[in-house]
């Protein structure tokens, strides 16, 4: 990976500056993003909330270099995506960025271990090394004992753990998640968010798109989008101890 270029925030794993994106042509053009600024640091989990059509998913695909903005700048680990050759972009996606999808997207013909090691194998990491990293990621998510199981043998919660393991395997720096708890019940959905948050505590930066405030509340910061614009964000709240009664008054 080349050195970060000057101009970006050194601490930011992801940086969006004045990012705009419009789909289609006037008069039926749809403005998905309009001048969005967002910076996510290593170890930080940011939730992006907004009604459907607010631009959440577009923000994620642009941050993941799957789509180019019409204007504005996107940097991942300090590297500007604009003008980056396609092959390098693809390598960045394989090595640095992990994705978690709503429907898990595990390949049904591969075991949990094979699914988890797949991104590394696609990146020409030797099979044995890739498998070892895959097993380590499964262990970190508490599903090492499911390594040899196929997706259809796993519960919904286990499948999503494997999907998160695949997203963080190796040395990923940026985690992008689109409604990562899918159709899980609220307790299991909370577990998924807890795991994503733990990955951030190990130094990964994450952007989680969700319409669900309960899931967004796991994030360090919540950003609100509406009609392609950022309309507000939470400031870092005080610790949970402020919710508990002061003990000296008992």
């Amino acid at each position: 990976m080349s050195r970060p270029e000057p101009g970006g925030d050194a601490m930011s794993v992801l940086e969006l500056r004045g990012v705009s994106k419009t789909y289609g042509q006037e008069p039926t053009a749809v403005r998905a993003l309009a001048g969005v600024d967002l910076s996510v640091r290593a170890g930080e989990m940011v939730a992006v909330m907004g009604p459907s059509g607010s631009g959440k998913s577009t923000l994620l695909t642009i941050a993941g270099s799957l789509e180019d903005p019409d204007s504005g700048e996107v940097r991942v680990c300090g590297l500007p995506l604009a003008g980056m050759p396609r092959k390098r972009k693809a390598r960045l996606r394989r090595r640095v960025i992990g994705y978690v999808f709503q429907d898990f997207n595990l390949l049904p013909g591969l075991t949990a271990a094979e699914n988890t090691a797949l991104p590394l194998e696609l990146d020409n990491v030797p099979v044995r090394k890739a498998r070892a990293a895959g097993l380590a990621a499964l262990a970190a998510l508490g599903v090492a004992d499911r390594a040899g199981w196929f997706p259809d043998q796993l519960s919904g919660g286990e499948r999503q753990r494997v999907a998160i393991a695949r997203a963080v395997v190796g040395d990923r720096r940026l985690l992008l998640a689109d409604e990562p708890s899918g159709a899980l019940d609220s307790v299991n959905a909370g577990d998924v968010m807890r795991l994503l948050h733990e990955a951030c505590q190990r130094g990964v930066a994450a952007v989680v798109v969700t319409h669900d405030a309960q899931l967004a509340a796991w994030a360090d910061r919540i950003v609100l989008l509406r009609d392609g614009r950022m309309t507000g964000q939470t400031t870092r709240p005080p610790g949970p101890e402020s919710l508990l009664m002061p003990r000296e008054t008992r």
């Binding site: 807890r194 509340a217 309309t231 964000q233 939470t234 005080p238 508990l244």
Partner: protein, 194 residues
């Protein structure tokens, strides 16, 4: 919340002292409901007077006194557990009032008002979620209390979202001709039951 019934529930496990009851009450409610010791003894006194609890020794006072539940107390506890709390009348919610007022006061951007409350509630939810992530992980009572609070805040945020959409829709639609007054509006009837 019904302190007497929670104390009866604790006594249903066996005879206990006042101080012990206070500690167990707080532990059993995830330590988010404080209870002072005076309140405990006052409530125990009432339970005793009503025949729902009795003490070991009527002569002793204060911390030396041990309480136990009576048969009537067990029946009262079982009845209470199965009696739904009265949720028929809408509570007089200050936030609902603020949004209703914001929609009427000229020059007030109701959406901005809603947004401020939404952000505040999200920050509160973040705090509760941190509690869930930390202390509540191994404390079932606290986890249940925290879940209840998070669901409550979530419901308020959803209501704000709906209010936002409703206000935007009302602003975009032409005003409808005034309808004849309803002789008995439903909400007023509900309110009268309070």
């Amino acid at each position: 919340m019904s302190v007497p019934h929670v104390l009866l529930a604790l006594l249903s496990e066996g005879p206990k002292y006042g101080l012990q009851l206070r500690e167990e009450f707080e532990a059993g409610t995830g330590e988010v409901w404080p209870l002072n010791v005076g309140q405990v003894y006052k409530t125990l006194g009432r339970l005793e007077r009503d025949g729902l609890a009795e003490s070991d020794d009527a002569g002793q006072e204060g911390p030396q006194k041990r309480f136990r539940i009576t048969a009537d107390g067990r029946r009262a506890l079982a009845d209470w557990l199965r009696t739904p709390p009265d949720l028929t009348a809408p509570p007089r919610d200050e936030l609902v009032m603020k949004v209703l007022v914001a929609a009427r006061v000229p020059g007030t951007d109701a959406h901005a008002v809603i947004q401020e409350h939404r952000l505040y509630l999200l920050e509160l939810m973040q705090q509760w979620t941190r509690l869930k992530e930390g202390e509540a992980r191994d404390d079932l009572s606290l986890a249940l209390v925290v879940d209840a609070e998070i669901f409550r805040l979530d419901a308020v945020i959803r209501w704000l979202d709906a209010a936002d959409v409703r206000l935007a829709r009302a602003a975009a639609a032409p005003p409808r001709p005034a309808a004849a007054p309803d002789p008995a509006p439903r909400l007023r009837r509900l309110g009268a039951r309070r």
